[in-house]
C-alpha cells in the first residue's frame, strides 16, 4: 500500500517537474471543500483538452487571504496570472490600474473568442467599468434568496412562501403560534439586509451611482428605507420573529435544526441545504417591502470573479485567455452551476441547464436565476464599488450587532456606521489619486 502510494507520488512529481512545451500559468483561488474539488476537476478537464497550456490551481485560503497573498506576490513580482477576488475587493482591484489586465482588453489583445453579450448583465454589471467593459471574468456568483421549511409551513397552515417582508412578519406569527422557535434568521446581514435591500427597492447605498462613477463616494445607507427595515428587524427580534446567528452563514444551523422556519442567505448554500436539511424545504426570492415598491429590482450578486494580473508574457496571457474562454463555455458553466449552486454566468449555460431538466429535477434551484434576470439592472442594482469595502462591511456588521444587542437605536447605529465608513472611503480616495 505505502509502496504503491510512494511510487505514484514519485511518478507524479517527475511528471510535474519534467517541462513540456506547454505554457504554465497559476490560478490562485479560495475554493475550499467540495467546491474546490470540483474546481480541480474543471481545471483538469481544461489541461487534458489541449496540450498548449497548463493551468495550476492553487488554493490560497479564504477570500481575504487569497487576495492579500496575490497583492503581496504582485509587490514581490511573483504574482499568478489569474486570481480569484471576492466581490468586495472589486474596487481595490479596479483602482490598481497598473496591476490588473482588464479582461475585455486581454480578450481583444489575444484575439480570443469573446462576446460580452453572452453573459448575464446583472452579473457582469458588478465587474464592468462605466462604459460597460468587463474588467474581470465572473466565476462564482451568488445572490440572496429565501429558504423555507415546507414542513413547518404546513404545520402552521401555510402553503406558499412569503413574497414580501409584510408577509414574512405575518407568516412568522403563525409559525410561532404553531410551535416554531423563530420565524427567520439571516446569513451575511450586510449583504442581504442592507446592500440587497437598497438595490431591490431602487434606493442608493452610496453616492456616485453606488460608487461606480468616482472615488469621492459617500455612503447613504442610513436613509429612511434602511432605517425602517432595521427598526422592523429589531422589533421582530424582540418578538421572536427574527433571530440573529452570526455575520456569515453561521446562522444556517438554526434553519437546519428547525429552530427557524426561514433563512435568507446565499443561493450557493443550496448544496449544503440539501445535505443538511433533513426535511422538505423550498427556495423563493428575497422578500421586498410591498409598501415601498410595486415591482422590486433584481438582487445584486456576491461571490467572486477572476482577475488577470499584469507582468506576465504574451504566451501566458494567451493561456489565460484560452482558459477564461473555456470557463465560459456553456458545458463547463452548466456543470459548475449545477454542482455548486452558483449562478450560471452566461445565457447559454442557463438554457443548457434548463434543457437538461435540472431545474425540474431540483425544484428551487431556478429561483435565484429568475430573480437576477427578472429586470434590467438600474444604477442602484448594478452592484457596489466601494474602496476598503472589507472594512466597511466590518463596520456595518458592528453597527447591526449593536442594534441587535440593544445598545444603539437603528438610526444612531447606521449614522455612526456611515460616518466611520466614509472615513474609510476617504482613506482609499487619498491613496488612489
Amino acid at each position: 500500500m505505502r509502496k504503491s502510494m510512494f511510487a505514484t507520488t514519485v511518478l507524479g512529481l517527475s511528471i510535474a517537474s519534467s517541462s513540456f512545451a506547454a505554457t504554465e500559468i497559476e490560478w490562485w483561488h479560495a475554493m475550499g471543500g467540495a467546491n474546490g474539488e470540483k474546481l480541480n476537476e474543471i481545471v483538469k478537464e481544461f489541461n487534458d483538452s489541449q496540450t498548449q497550456y497548463k493551468v495550476d490551481p492553487v488554493f490560497k485560503g479564504t477570500y481575504t487571504e487569497t487576495m492579500t497573498s496575490a497583492i503581496a506576490a504582485f509587490r514581490a513580482h511573483k504574482q499568478p496570472a489569474i486570481v480569484q477576488v471576492f466581490e468586495v475587493g472589486t474596487a481595490t482591484m479596479m483602482a490598481a490600474k497598473g496591476a490588473v489586465y482588464p479582461v475585455y482588453k486581454l480578450m481583444k489583445d489575444t484575439k480570443a473568442d469573446f462576446d460580452p453579450s453572452a453573459y448575464l448583465s446583472s452579473v457582469t454589471g458588478y465587474y464592468s467599468d462605466v462604459d460597460g467593459n468587463m474588467l474581470s471574468m465572473p466565476f462564482n456568483s451568488s445572490t440572496p434568496v429565501l429558504y423555507y421549511n415546507k414542513e413547518m409551513f404546513k404545520k402552521a397552515g401555510l402553503t406558499t412562501p412569503p413574497k414580501t417582508w409584510e408577509e414574512v412578519a405575518a407568516y412568522s406569527k403563525k409559525l410561532l403560534a404553531s410551535g416554531a422557535q423563530c420565524g427567520f434568521t439571516t446569513g451575511w446581514q450586510s449583504w442581504v439586509q442592507l446592500e440587497n435591500l437598497s438595490a431591490r427597492h431602487d434606493v442608493p447605498f452610496a453616492s456616485n451611482d453606488d460608487g461606480f462613477s468616482g472615488l469621492d463616494t459617500k455612503l447613504l445607507f442610513n436613509g429612511p428605507l434602511q432605517v425602517m427595515h432595521i427598526t422592523k428587524m429589531h422589533e421582530w427580534q424582540k418578538s421572536g420573529i427574527f433571530s440573529y446567528g452570526g455575520r456569515r452563514s453561521d446562522s444556517a444551523p438554526k434553519f437546519y435544526s428547525q429552530q427557524c422556519a426561514m433563512y435568507t442567505g446565499s443561493s450557493s448554500a443550496f448544496g449544503g441545504m440539501t445535505r443538511n436539511a433533513k426535511f422538505d424545504f423550498g427556495v423563493s426570492s428575497l422578500p421586498y417591502w410591498a409598501s415601498e415598491v410595486k415591482q422590486p429590482n433584481n438582487t445584486i450578486i456576491g461571490g467572486a470573479s477572476l482577475w488577470v494580473l499584469q507582468g506576465k508574457d504574451k504566451a501566458e496571457y494567451k493561456a489565460a485567455a484560452a482558459f477564461l474562454h473555456f470557463l465560459s463555455t456553456p458545458e463547463i458553466q452548466a456543470q459548475w452551476h449545477q454542482f455548486t449552486g452558483y449562478l450560471p454566468i452566461t445565457h447559454a449555460a442557463y438554457e443548457l441547464t434548463k434543457k437538461e431538466g435540472f431545474y425540474q429535477a431540483h425544484p428551487g434551484t431556478e429561483a435565484a436565476v429568475l430573480q437576477m434576470t427578472a429586470s434590467e439592472p438600474t444604477v442602484n442594482s448594478r452592484g457596489l464599488r466601494l474602496g476598503n469595502f472589507v472594512q466597511i462591511r466590518d463596520v456595518i456588521n458592528g453597527a447591526l450587532e449593536s442594534v441587535w444587542s440593544g445598545k444603539e437605536t437603528p438610526q444612531a447605529a447606521l449614522d455612526t456606521a456611515v460616518k466611520r465608513g466614509d472615513m474609510l472611503l476617504r482613506k482609499f480616495e487619498k491613496a488612489h489619486n
Binding site: T64, T68, I71, F74, R75, T92, A95, A96, K97, G98, A99, Y244, G245, G246, R247, D250, S251, P253, K254, S257, N388, V390, Q391, D394, N397, G398, A399, E401, S402, W404, S405, K427, K430, A431, H432
Partner: protein, 291 residues
C-alpha cells in the same frame, strides 16, 4: 561568571550565523515596516507618497485604537490571572495526592502541544451559539450565550481558548515549585495547628511568589503575542472590535485592510510598548538570577 576565554576572533564567528539570520529575516523586514509608517501607499504599491507623521496622527485620533488598547489589557490580564489561578489550584491538588501525580501531570501537560489555531477551532465549535454543546447547555440553565453578539461573551471565549493551552505550562512550574518546598516547613506549621488553608497562604504561597511573578510576566507576553491563531480562528476580533487586540489589529489593518502605512505605524507603537515590557522582564529575570 568572571572567567572568560581570551580568544578575540572566535566569539564573532560564533555569533555570526545568528546575526546574519537576524539581519536578513528580522532587521531588513522590520526596517521596511518602519519606513512604511511614514508613507501612504495603495494596496499594490503602485503609488507611494511621503506623509510624515500623518499615519501616527490618524492612529492617535482613532477611538478604536484606544478601545483596542483596553481590550488588550483586559484580555492579557484575564488570561494571565485565570491561567495562573487554575494551574496553581490544580498543582496544589496534585502535590497533595500521593499516587498518580505523574499520571495527572501527563494528563494535564499535553494541551501545551496543541496549535493555537487548532485550539481555537475546537473551542469555537464547543461554544458555537447555534450548535455548540457548551452554549446549548448554558442556554438550558438560562444563560443566553451568543458571542456573535455579546462582546463580553466573545471576550470570555477567547480568554478560555487562550488560557487552556497555558494551564499546562503554568502547572508544570507550580508543581515543581511546590515540590521544592521543604516538607519540614509545612509539617512544622501543621504541628502548630494551622489549618491547611492558612498553611497555604502563610507559608506555601509566599515561597511560590518568585514562580508566580515569573509566570505572570510569561503569561502576559504570551497573551500579547502568541494568541494570534486563537483570535483568528474564533472571533476575528469581533463583535464590533471587542476582542480586537493590538497585535491582531496590526494584522487586520495591514493584511485584511491593506492599509500598510497605518498598520506599520501601529507596529512601531507596539514595538515601543514591547521594548518597555522586555526591559522590565529582562531586569526582573536578571535580578532573579543573582539570587
Amino acid at each position: 561568571m568572571s572567567v572568560y576565554f581570551p580568544q578575540k576572533k572566535l566569539p564573532y564567528l560564533l555569533v555570526l550565523p545568528q546575526l546574519v539570520i537576524t539581519a536578513i529575516f528580522f532587521l531588513w523586514p522590520a526596517g521596511q515596516a518602519v519606513l512604511q509608517a511614514f508613507y501612504r501607499e495603495d494596496a499594490f504599491g503602485l503609488s507611494q507618497q511621503f506623509v510624515g507623521l500623518e499615519n501616527f496622527v490618524d492612529l492617535f485620533q482613532d477611538p478604536l485604537y484606544y478601545k483596542s488598547m483596553v481590550v488588550t489589557m483586559v484580555f492579557s490580564f484575564s488570561v494571565a490571572f485565570l491561567g495562573i489561578a487554575v494551574a496553581l489550584w490544580l498543582a496544589v491538588m496534585a502535590d497533595r495526592v500521593i499516587r498518580g501525580r505523574m499520571v495527572y501531570q501527563t494528563l494535564l501537560v499535553w494541551p501545551y502541544a496543541v496549535a493555537p489555531a487548532l485550539a481555537g477551532v475546537l473551542w469555537w465549535i464547543l461554544f458555537d451559539p447555534n450548535i455548540g454543546p457548551v452554549a446549548l447547555f448554558l442556554d438550558r440553565i438560562g444563560l443566553h450565550w451568543n458571542h456573535f453578539l455579546n462582546g463580553d461573551q466573545a471576550m470570555i471565549l477567547v480568554v478560555i481558548s487562550a488560557t487552556w493551552k497555558q494551564i499546562s505550562y503554568n502547572f508544570l512550574f507550580f508543581l515543581a515549585g511546590l515540590q521544592a518546598i521543604p516538607r519540614s516547613l509545612i509539617e512544622a506549621a501543621a504541628i502548630d495547628g494551622a489549618s491547611s488553608f492558612k498553611r497555604f497562604w502563610d507559608i506555601v504561597f509566599p515561597l511560590l511568589s518568585p514562580t508566580t511573578f515569573f509566570l505572570l510576566v510569561v503569561n502576559l507576553v504570551y497573551a500579547f503575542f502568541e494568541t494570534f491563531g486563537v483570535i483568528d480562528t474564533t472571533t476575528q476580533g469581533g463583535p464590533d472590535g471587542s476582542t480586537n487586540t493590538l497585535v491582531y489589529k496590526v494584522f487586520k489593518d495591514g493584511f485584511i485592510g491593506l492599509d500598510s502605512g497605518g498598520s506599520a505605524a501601529q507596529s512601531i507603537v507596539l514595538m515601543a510598548i514591547v521594548g518597555l515590557m522586555t526591559v522590565i522582564q529582562f531586569r526582573f529575570i536578571e535580578r532573579k538570577v543573582q539570587y
